[in-house]
C-alpha cells in the first residue's frame, strides 16, 4: 500500500513539474532558478505528504475491500475447501479445469453471452426509437418519460418477484389474459419451459433496463446543437435524413458508453434470474454469477466458486479492455 501511495505521489509531482520546466525554458535567470528549485523541492514534499494524507484512507478501503478479496479469491481457487478450518488441500489449477470442463458453467457462459448480445441488439434500436420520439415536443412528454424510466428505478428483486407472480402458469395474470383472448399459454409456464425461460427473462430485462438507455440517449440528444438541425432543414433534409446523418452520429459516444454499461451488467446478471428461476429449469437460465453462488454458498465448494469468480473476472476484463481499445478509444481520445 505504501508503495502505491508513493507511486501516485511521484506521478502527480511529475505532472506538476511540467509547467515549471516550461517556465525555465522560457529563460529565467540562473539565480532565480536555483531558489525556485529549493522552493519547488519544499512544496514537492509538502504536496506528496498532502496527497498521501488524502489518498491513504480511500486507498486503505480499496485495498481492504477490493484488492484483498481479489487476492483471497485467487488463493482460495487453488484449494479444495468446504468453508470450515484452514486452507490445507492444495489442488493447483484443478478447480479451474473443473470449472472450464463443467457443462453447467459453459452453459452459463453461453447464456451470459446471449444476454449481452440480445440486450444490445434489442435495447439499442428500441431505446433509440423511444428517445427520438420522446425528444419531440408533445403532450404528456414528461409523463411518458417517467413511465419509461420507472422500471429502472424499481429494485431488481422487487421487479423479479412481481414478474414471477405475473408469469405463474395457469393462475398468473398473463396466462389468464392470454386465455381470455383465446391463446394457449405454454403448458409448463413461461419460466418453466426450457426453451422459453431465457427469452422470457430477456424480455423482462428489456422492460427493466430500456429506461436507462432512453434516459441516456435523451441526455445525449440535448447535446446536439440546434444549429445543425437548422442548417440541415435549410438544406432541405427530411426528418429521417436528419436523424441518420446528424443525430445518431452525434449520439455515438453516448451509445458506446451505454453499450459498455449494458455489457458489463449482462455479464454480472444475478438477482433477477435468482428470484425468478434460480437458474432453472434444468440450468436453462443459469448465469456465471448463479453458478458461482450455487457452488459457493449452496454447496460449500468454495475452491470451485473461487475459480469461477476468477474466470468471470478475466472474461469481464477481456471484454472491458477490448471494448475500450477497439470501440471507445476514439471517444476518450476526442475528450482529452
Amino acid at each position: 500500500m505504501a508503495d502505491n501511495v508513493t507511486a501516485s505521489a511521484d506521478a502527480s509531482s511529475a505532472t506538476s513539474s511540467g509547467p515549471a520546466a516550461g517556465a525555465t525554458r522560457q529563460g529565467r535567470p540562473a539565480a532565480g532558478q536555483s531558489a525556485g528549485g529549493r522552493r519547488a523541492a519544499h512544496s514537492d514534499l509538502r504536496k506528496r505528504l498532502e496527497i498521501a494524507f488524502f489518498v491513504a484512507p480511500a486507498l486503505g478501503l480499496f485495498v481492504l475491500f477490493v484488492v484483498w478479496p481479489v487476492i483471497t479469491a485467487v488463493q482460495m481457487s487453488m484449494f479444495r475447501w468446504n468453508g470450515i478450518g484452514p486452507l490445507e488441500n492444495f489442488v493447483g489449477l484443478d478447480n479451474y479445469a473443473r470449472v472450464l470442463n463443467s457443462d453447467v458453467f459453459i452453459g452459463s457462459l453461453v447464456n451470459n453471452l446471449i444476454i449481452v448480445a440480445s440486450s444490445i441488439a434489442i435495447q439499442l434500436p428500441l431505446g433509440l426509437a423511444i428517445a427520438l420520439l420522446l425528444n419531440r415536443r408533445m403532450w404528456g412528454q414528461g409523463l411518458l418519460r417517467t413511465i419509461i424510466f420507472m422500471p429502472y428505478v424499481l429494485a431488481e428483486v422487487v421487479a423479479g418477484v412481481i414478474w414471477f407472480q405475473l408469469l405463474q402458469p395457469q393462475y398468473g395474470v398473463i396466462d389468464t389474459l392470454l386465455e381470455a383472448i383465446g391463446l394457449t399459454p405454454p403448458p409448463q409456464g413461461w419460466l418453466g419451459d426450457m426453451d422459453l425461460a431465457l427469452w422470457t427473462i430477456i424480455v423482462i430485462l428489456t422492460w427493466k433496463y430500456i429506461g436507462l438507455a432512453v434516459i441516456l440517449f435523451l441526455a445525449g440528444l440535448q447535446g446536439v446543437p440546434d444549429e445543425l438541425y437548422e442548417a440541415a432543414q435549410l438544406d432541405g433534409a427530411s426528418w429521417w435524413q436528419v436523424q441518420r446523418k446528424i443525430t445518431i452520429p452525434l449520439l455515438g459516444p453516448t451509445i458506446r458508453t451505454w453499450a459498455f454499461l449494458s455489457m458489463i451488467g449482462s455479464l454480472q446478471l444475478f438477482d433477477m434470474v435468482w428470484i425468478m428461476t434460480r437458474g432453472g429449469p434444468a440450468n436453462a437460465t443459469s448465469t456465471m454469477a448463479i453458478f458461482l453462488v450455487n457452488e459457493g454458498t449452496n454447496r460449500a465448494n468454495f475452491g470451485i466458486a473461487g475459480a469461477a469468480s476468477v474466470v468471470l473476472f478475466f472474461i469481464a476484463l477481456v471484454f472491458a479492455v477490448l471494448y475500450q481499445q477497439l470501440i471507445m478509444k476514439r471517444d476518450t481520445k476526442g475528450g482529452a
Binding site: 483471497t72 475447501w81 470450515i84 433496463y209 473461487g306 473476472f313 469481464a316
Partner: protein, 442 residues
C-alpha cells in the same frame, strides 16, 4: 440490459466479482478457538448459555422461553440467552459462525448427516456420548443419524417422515373411495389417473427448489435398495449397485404418467400460494410429497391459518419386487448439538430439553414429532399421530439423502435429479453425478 454502476471500469467490475467471491467464502485462515468469556464465566460460577432455535413465532416461541426460564430457576447462576430466529436465517448465521470459528452458539439445532460430519471434522461440536449417556440411551432409536464413528454428537428432539399429504375431499370428488395407508405403485398410479379424469391436477412438486423433486428419487432408493446397501455406498462412494439405477428408472416411469402440476419445473417448495404446498393448501392439487412439517405449512398458507380437516396422509408407494424393507421410511429430524467450547451446563440444558416433561409440552403444541418414548401420544394433530405409528413401526429411517451426503455431493445429486424431471438426464446420470462429487470429496 445494464445494471447501475458507479464507475464503468474493469477494476470496479473486478472488485464486484471478487467481493462476491470473498463474501461467499469468508476467510480460510480464521482460528477456531473462541468463547473464552463463557469458559471463564463457567469457572467463576455464573454461566451464560447461548441457545439458538427456530420456533420464532406464537406458542412455540413462548413455550421455549418458558422452558429456558424453568431451567434458569432450577439452576441458579445459569442464564440462558435465547435467540429464536427464522429457520433460513438461523442456517445462514450458523454457517457464518462455523466458517469464522467465532460466535458459535452453545446449544444449537443440528440436522445430522454430512453437515454434522463437517462440524465434527472441524472440531466444532462436542462429543456427547459419555456426558449425556442416559439421555442417549432413552433416545437410542433415533441417534443413528447423529452418530459419527460410534460417537454421538447431537440429541434428536424431533424425527419425522416424508410421505404423501392429500386432500381427502378432492380424492372423494375423483371417486377414490379407498385410500391405502401403504399403497403400491399401481394403486398410486390409479389415484393419479382418477384425479386426472376428474380434471384435478394430481400432484404438486416444487422442482424449482430442487430438493422436493429429489425426494422422489431418495424414496425410490429407500424402496429399491436394502438399508445396508445405501449405508455401504455412502461410506465408500461406490454407487454401482443396480438398485440405484432402478430407483432412477422408477422415477422416469412416474414422470411418464405426467402426474405433476403445470409449471412444476419452476414451482417453489413452500413460499406463497403458488408454491407446491400453496397449491395443496388452496385445494388446487390432490396431493404433495412432503415431510411432517406439512400441516403447519399448509395451515400457514390458508386464509384462516388453520390446518384443514381434509388433510390426510399415506406412505410413499411400494414397488413390486423391491429390495428395500417396505417398513423403511425416509425422513429426518432436528437435534440439539452443543458446541465444542460451550460451558458444561450447556450439556445439562440440552439434556433437559429432552426430558419427558419438555417433550410432552413440545408434542402438545405440535412443534414436531417428539422422540422421547411415549410422548407422541400428546400430539394434537391426528395426521401427526398417524406418522408416529408409522415411524415407530419397526422400519429404519433413512435421512434425506442430500443432508446425509452433505452440501457438496447432495447439491450435485439434487441438480442431476432436477435434470431428470426436465427430461435432461437418465438414471445413470444421477449415479454418475453422485459418484463424481463424492470422489472429489475423498
Amino acid at each position: 440490459m445494464t445494471r447501475k454502476m458507479r464507475g464503468a471500469s474493469a477494476v470496479a467490475l473486478g472488485a464486484t466479482v471478487a467481493l462476491l467471491a470473498g463474501a461467499c467464502a469468508g476467510q480460510g485462515t480464521a482460528d477456531q478457538d473462541t468463547d473464552d468469556t463463557t469458559t471463564e464465566a463457567a469457572e467463576g460460577g455464573d454461566v451464560t448459555i447461548e441457545w439458538w432455535h427456530n420456533s420464532d413465532t406464537g406458542e412455540g416461541k413462548e413455550y421455549y422461553d418458558q422452558v429456558a426460564a424453568d431451567f434458569e430457576a432450577a439452576n441458579p447462576g445459569v442464564t440462558i440467552n435465547v435467540q429464536a430466529q427464522d429457520h433460513e436465517d438461523m442456517l445462514t448465521r450458523l454457517q457464518a459462525a462455523f466458517q469464522a470459528g467465532d460466535g458459535i452458539p452453545d446449544v444449537y439445532m443440528s440436522r445430522g448427516g454430512g453437515e454434522l460430519l463437517r462440524e465434527v471434522e472441524g472440531g466444532l461440536v462436542r462429543d456427547l456420548t459419555d456426558d449425556a449417556a442416559d439421555t442417549i440411551g432413552t433416545l437410542d432409536a433415533f441417534v443413528g443419524q447423529y452418530t459419527v464413528e460410534d460417537r454421538v454428537y447431537a440429541l434428536p428432539f424431533s424425527m419425522g417422515l416424508v410421505g404423501f399429504w392429500y386432500n381427502t375431499d378432492l380424492f372423494a370428488e375423483a371417486g377414490i373411495d379407498e385410500v391405502s395407508e401403504n399403497p403400491t405403485i399401481e394403486e398410486f398410479n390409479g389415484y393419479v389417473e382418477a384425479l386426472k379424469a376428474a380434471d384435478i391436477d394430481p400432484v404438486s412438486v416444487g422442482a424449482g427448489d430442487g430438493w422436493p423433486a429429489a425426494h422422489y428419487w431418495y424414496y425410490n432408493v429407500v424402496r429399491e435398495c436394502p438399508f445396508d446397501t445405501v449405508e455401504a455406498a455412502v461410506e465408500t462412494g461406490d454407487y454401482s449397485d443396480g438398485c440405484f439405477i432402478t430407483a432412477g428408472e422408477n422415477l422416469e416411469d412416474l414422470l411418464e404418467t405426467e402426474p405433476f402440476n403445470p409449471g412444476f419445473l419452476a414451482t417453489g417448495a413452500q413460499a406463497g400460494p403458488t408454491s407446491a404446498s400453496g397449491l395443496l393448501a388452496t385445494e388446487r392439487v390432490g396431493m404433495e410429497l412432503a415431510g411432517h412439517w406439512e400441516p403447519g405449512v399448509v395451515g400457514g398458507l390458508r386464509e384462516d391459518g388453520e390446518v384443514p380437516d381434509w388433510l390426510g396422509w399415506f406412505a410413499y408407494p411400494t414397488f413390486p419386487g423391491q429390495a428395500g424393507d417396505p417398513a423403511d421410511q425416509m425422513g429426518g429430524g432436528d437435534a440439539w448439538s452443543v458446541s465444542a467450547d460451550a460451558p458444561d451446563a450447556s450439556v445439562d440444558f440440552a439434556e433437559y430439553l429432552l426430558t419427558e416433561e419438555v417433550q410432552t409440552g413440545f408434542a402438545e403444541l405440535d412443534m414436531g414429532l417428539p422422540t422421547y418414548p411415549g410422548t407422541g401420544e400428546n400430539l394434537s394433530n391426528e395426521g401427526l399421530r398417524q406418522l408416529i405409528e408409522v415411524r415407530d413401526g419397526g422400519g429404519q429411517a433413512q435421512l434425506y439423502l442430500d443432508t446425509r451426503l452433505g452440501q457438496s455431493v447432495g447439491g450435485a445429486m439434487n441438480d442431476a435429479i432436477a435434470l431428470m424431471f426436465a427430461g435432461q438426464a437418465g438414471p445413470q446420470d444421477i449415479v454418475d453425478a453422485i459418484e463424481d462429487a463424492a470422489a472429489q470429496e475423498q
